[in-house]
Amino acid sequence: MFPSVLQELRKYFGRDFLLGVFFPVLIFIGTSLALYYEITQGAEVALATWEKLSLQTQVFSILAGLIAVTVLAALIYNFQYSLTRLFEGYWPRFRILSTLRNTRTRLYKERWDYLEALTQQSSTLTDAEKNEITEEQLIFYPPPIHLNRLMPTRIGNTLLASEVYALDRYGIDSSIIWTRLRPLLTDKAVAPLEDSRTAIDFMLLMSVFAATFTLIWCPVLALFTNQWGLFLLCALGWPLAWICYQNAVQRALDYSEQLKAIFDLYRHDLLKVLGRPIPTSAKAEHKEWRELSDFLYYNVPMPSPPTAPEKPQDWSQVATALAELLKRMSPPIP
């Protein structure tokens, strides 16, 4: 029954819903319920009570549970974007969060400066070490001209690096252009990107749930029971949350590279569909994308694309056309 229910869910909600939200919610709710019954009445008694229920009641309970999990997952699914933004470092404007954000941003700037200073220490570092440092700067930080936009988290900076890539290279504002470019991409082109996105969503939500699980159940177990074995088991949610976050950062690296590749390979498809000319120089391309972004976002009128010069016709075609005209003008001789 469960696989068919999953199949139905997948049909309606898609892979990103199932992997990114449904399973984390199912794991969280399932383990929390198991723990609740273990604490309140003991797992054996709970299982014995479950076995005494009629088959209809058991089936109904499982279905009701699955529906509850699906509804909760659907609610969380709509907040997935906000959750990712929180992990990236786009926090609400509370004083404490602003302070924390500034502190963390300053730290990442200092860290970048430290890496930069290290590369200057040419006498103490080998070329390989210098390459590693430069690589770290390229992967985990935005380019130097965007250091004023540093985010307060590592995943935020990694994703920022991919966002500004298209802007630096081509003048593309990815937040405006992406929604127009996405429908033009083939499944083959976009699948790796969406896989990475789903993996990031899954890992970030698992990170939240693992930490929440520990923060809720560890104090409950410590205060109301002496089941220290269970307490230790629940405490493992804390390192698990960290591991999940690190995993999300790693997948963000993949995502970042794939997003860059898509702009490199498919950006001209959008221009073709919009009937815009393909720029022939980097400067023209920057200008074209900036004008397009301004038009799409601020409704700034775009200059018309230059019309193509008419194709020159050779003399034989001109002569033929002239003969045709004269023939039509002169009446036929009776």
Binding site: V45, L107, E110, R111, A117, A222, T225, Q227, F231, W238
Partner: protein, 204 residues
């Protein structure tokens, strides 16, 4: 590129991982505290329990049971709570000593004359024998024997009133367990040889 050969720069210190893992390290003292902390006794309830193991179809007497404290968490919705719910009833299966007694393990209160000095005898049953499923433990039935081969013999009513102790299903086979008087056991065997047994329950 400059060739700065001075002191190597110091990396900035990030305190967030320190705070994070320090919180995790709290697990150790909390675990030690939990392992040694005295716990309040589990809530308990007083229940009637058997003093000794009792067999199936045993009439429960007051001396068989006593009130004892057990964990509240061992009590389920069908656990018997008072002695009066048990005394005079009979057990449907064997029950261990000092275990909570469940309603599903106890039969109704029978007429003492129908259960005293009886044998528990099992009869293979079908849907007709169990009156379409309406026959249940505690019912009183009459038993008749209808000859199968000798059509000249007349049907015989063997017992007017017999107590149905239980109806059990084992796999696809259903059996009726009856309380037959010991002193008429041989008579029953004789009269039911080569016969079809018919059970009948008084209506009303």
């Amino acid at each position: 590129m400059s060739t700065n050969t001075g002191q190597p720069p110091k990396p900035p210190r990030d305190f967030v991982p320190w705070i994070y893992w320090t919180l995790f390290m709290l697990v150790v003292p909390v675990t030690v505290w939990m392992a040694n902390k005295p716990m309040p006794p589990k809530p308990q309830v007083s229940l009637p329990l058997f003093n000794h193991e009792v067999p199936a179809y045993h009439i429960i007497a007051l001396k068989d049971i006593s009130m004892r404290w057990i964990d509240k968490y061992d009590v389920t919705t069908d656990t018997m709570h008072t002695k009066s719910d048990l005394v005079g009833h009979y057990t449907l299966n064997a029950i261990h000593a000092f275990q909570p007694i469940h309603a599903s393990q106890i039969g109704p209160k029978p007429d003492p004359r129908l259960i005293a000095n009886t044998l528990a005898v099992a009869l293979p049953a079908n849907i007709a024998t169990i009156l379409g499923g309406s026959l249940q433990a505690g019912d009183i039935v009459s038993i008749a024997a209808v000859p199968l081969s000798n059509t000249t013999s007349l049907p015989t009513i063997i017992f007017d009133a017999v107590l149905v102790l239980n109806i059990k299903s084992v796999g696809s086979q259903t059996v009726i367990i009856l309380a037959l008087p010991i002193n008429r056991w041989l008579d029953y065997l004789t009269k039911t040889r080569n016969t079809m047994i018919v059970l009948a329950r008084q209506v009303g």
